[in-house]
């Protein structure tokens, strides 16, 4: 039985009178990719933001492992083992790939900004002296396929490479649960293939939630599928189940499937 890493029950988010997300429940298991699909405005991004702590739920509960993390700040949830990537690339543009990922890796060190010892060590030699950071850093860079682009400045890279960096940074925080918000957005065929390959490689060790519009990738990758329309879940199950679901066909996939 795959380990249940994240469980969200009855999540609701209201803005004024409008419920962007209404009574949504999601389970994420280690070793499985759970895709969330739906038309624009369905509430998928809001759902992601609720799970990552960027938004506070109006109602509902989120459990990470055995801990109730409802209402926690993003930084606390991250340290509890959740990582997310962003739809709109959210990296450190003026820094190199190495520096970007190193910062992400640093986040797992004990924080203690007050500790004067943390004011004096030299992070440029960290990779040599600090094995833990070095391991996280190297593994993330390796996995995301950016080994040859280590010294490239993030702002100068291609869109696809930036998306890879986005993932690398998420992985370097060693999350057990990974939320990916449209990782394939704007990618060409080759880049998309690389990303799909990457996701399959990290799958065994993580619980992954994938918000995506690229249907080919979704049906190729997903073990489970949740379909959202207007803030609510209209279908849930394996890709085959969902494909056959009449309500989904009507609302979203169209007649041809």
């Amino acid at each position: 039985m795959d380990e249940l890493l994240l469980s969200a029950r009855g999540l609701t988010k209201r803005f004024g009178g409008l419920a962007a997300v209404n009574g949504v429940s999601v389970d994420l298991h280690r070793g499985r990719i759970h895709a969330v699909i739906g038309p624009n405005g369905a509430g998928k991004s809001t759902l992601t933001n609720l799970l990552s702590g960027d938004l506070t739920p109006t109602a509902g509960k989120i459990t990470l492992g055995t801990t109730d993390v409802t209402g926690w700040t993003p930084e606390r949830i991250s340290r509890q083992g959740l990582g997310r990537s962003y739809q709109k690339t959210n990296i450190f543009l003026p820094l190199t790939v190495h520096e970007n990922v190193r910062l992400a890796a640093q986040s797992r060190e004990p924080q203690q900004p007050w500790n004067p010892l943390r004011w004096l060590s030299d992070t440029r030699t960290d990779a040599i002296k600090n094995r833990a950071i070095s391991v996280r850093l190297e593994s993330a860079i390796e996995l995301s396929g950016l080994k040859n682009r280590r010294m490239a400045i993030a702002g100068a890279m291609s869109h696809g490479e930036q998306r890879q960096l986005e993932i690398a940074m998420t992985l370097a925080t060693e999350p057990s649960v990974v939320l990916l918000d449209e990782p394939l957005a704007g990618m060409g065929v080759a880049e998309a293939e690389r990303m799909v390959d990457l996701l399959n490689r990290i799958k065994p060790a993580h619980a992954i939630m994938l918000v995506e519009h690229d249907m080919d990738a979704v049906f190729a990758l997903a073990d489970q599928l949740t379909v959202m329309v207007n803030g609510e879940v209209i279908a849930h199950g394996t890709p085959a189940d969902v494909r056959a679901n009449a309500a989904v066909q009507a609302a979203y996939l169209g007649e041809d499937h």
Partner: protein
């Protein structure tokens, strides 16, 4: 609406060379300079420390404080209160206490201020500094608008032995120089430390830092407090050198001057702060000499700097020499 600025963190060789020349010149200066100029350069170095402290907050962390002078002034006043009317106070007690005092005030105000962002941050730092200003301005017991005189420079005696006498102009100069270089070394070290990297990350993309698990509020408070303490060091030296403190030291103009110095030299690498402080003080001196309407010249100069040289003087030097090392962060501004 602020866009993350790319900063010159690793100084290119051309700049390092110029700085080394400058440091040498500073060491040799008292041998050739007149008393008046030794005093002026001492003051520039004190401003250099003040500017470097703000650079940590503004240049590295991206927090624009319009009230940094509050911590500068508090330490000067601390020295004034600790110095009796008829005898000097001990350097070894008063300096750490004054610096800690400024740090404490910064910690308290910082607690409120780091909860705010963007323009709110700018406004509340100003507002709290004004609060400190009025605290001293309105209360005769604290000196009032007239300020307080410090009749003796701090005494460096240790168990009866006097290693150096700060009453001497040249001695005070070298004392300040050592402190300035020490602060520079400390801050350069901090820049590449885990704290410094986190602060830079906060400047560039605070949202992502939080998403990665950094408690950014705690980091910002640390930066605010350390910057305040170092500003206190500068304020202490100012009080010691001039022998007089008044509420203007904590005022809006003083804070704005500090911002100007940091921008003028180039932010984020501390060398720029020193260069900016020297340049600004020198310009002030020149403008005041030229006309009694010097504010017109100063204002015009500031506007010119904003329009023409957003990366400051060091940025210009680096650009002129053309070569930049591979690690120089992305060139140019990223305008939204």
């Amino acid at each position: 609406m602020s866009t993350p600025r790319a900063h010159l963190e690793v100084l290119p060789r051309s700049v390092q060379f110029v700085l080394a020349l400058g440091a040498t010149a500073l060491v040799l200066f008292p041998l050739v300079g007149s008393d008046f100029y030794v005093q002026m350069v001492t003051r520039m170095m004190i401003m250099g420390i003040f500017a470097m402290s703000l650079d940590l907050l503004q240049g590295v962390t991206g927090l624009v404080s319009l009230g940094h002078a509050a911590y500068f002034g508090v330490a000067g006043y601390a020295l004034a209160f600790m110095t009796p009317a008829d005898a000097p106070a001990s350097l070894w007690w008063t300096l750490p206490l004054a610096v800690l005092g400024s740090g404490l005030v910064a910690l308290i105000i910082g607690f409120f201020v780091v909860r705010t962002h963007g323009i709110y941050f700018i406004m509340v730092t100003l507002a709290f500094a004004q609060m400190v200003f009025y605290l001293f301005f309105d209360n005769k017991a604290l000196g009032g608008s007239d300020g307080i005189y410090i009749n003796f420079r701090p005494d460096a005696s240790v168990f009866g032995w006097l290693p150096f006498d700060l009453e001497g102009r040249k001695t005070f100069y070298y004392f300040t120089l050592v402190l300035m270089l020490g602060v520079y070394a400390l801050l350069r070290r901090m820049l590449w430390s885990p704290l410094g990297r986190a602060l830079s990350g906060i400047r560039i993309n605070e949202h992502r830092m939080r998403a990665m698990g950094f408690g950014t509020r705690g980091y910002k408070l640390t930066a605010f407090t350390v910057a305040g303490a170092l500003a206190g060091l500068a304020g202490y030296l100012w009080g010691a050198q001039t022998g007089y403190v008044n509420p203007e030291l904590m005022g809006f103009h003083m804070s704005a001057h500090a911002i100007m110095m940091v921008i003028l030299g180039g932010m984020g690498n501390f060398a720029g702060a020193i260069v900016g402080a020297f340049a600004f003080e020198y310009l002030l001196h020149v403008f005041k000499d030229v006309t009694k309407h010097w504010q017109l010249l100063m204002g015009g100069f500031i506007v010119l700097v904003v329009l023409a040289a957003p990366r400051g003087l060091l940025g210009i030097v680096a650009r002129l020499r053309g070569g930049t090392s591979a690690k120089t962060t992305a060139g140019g501004e990223q305008h939204g």
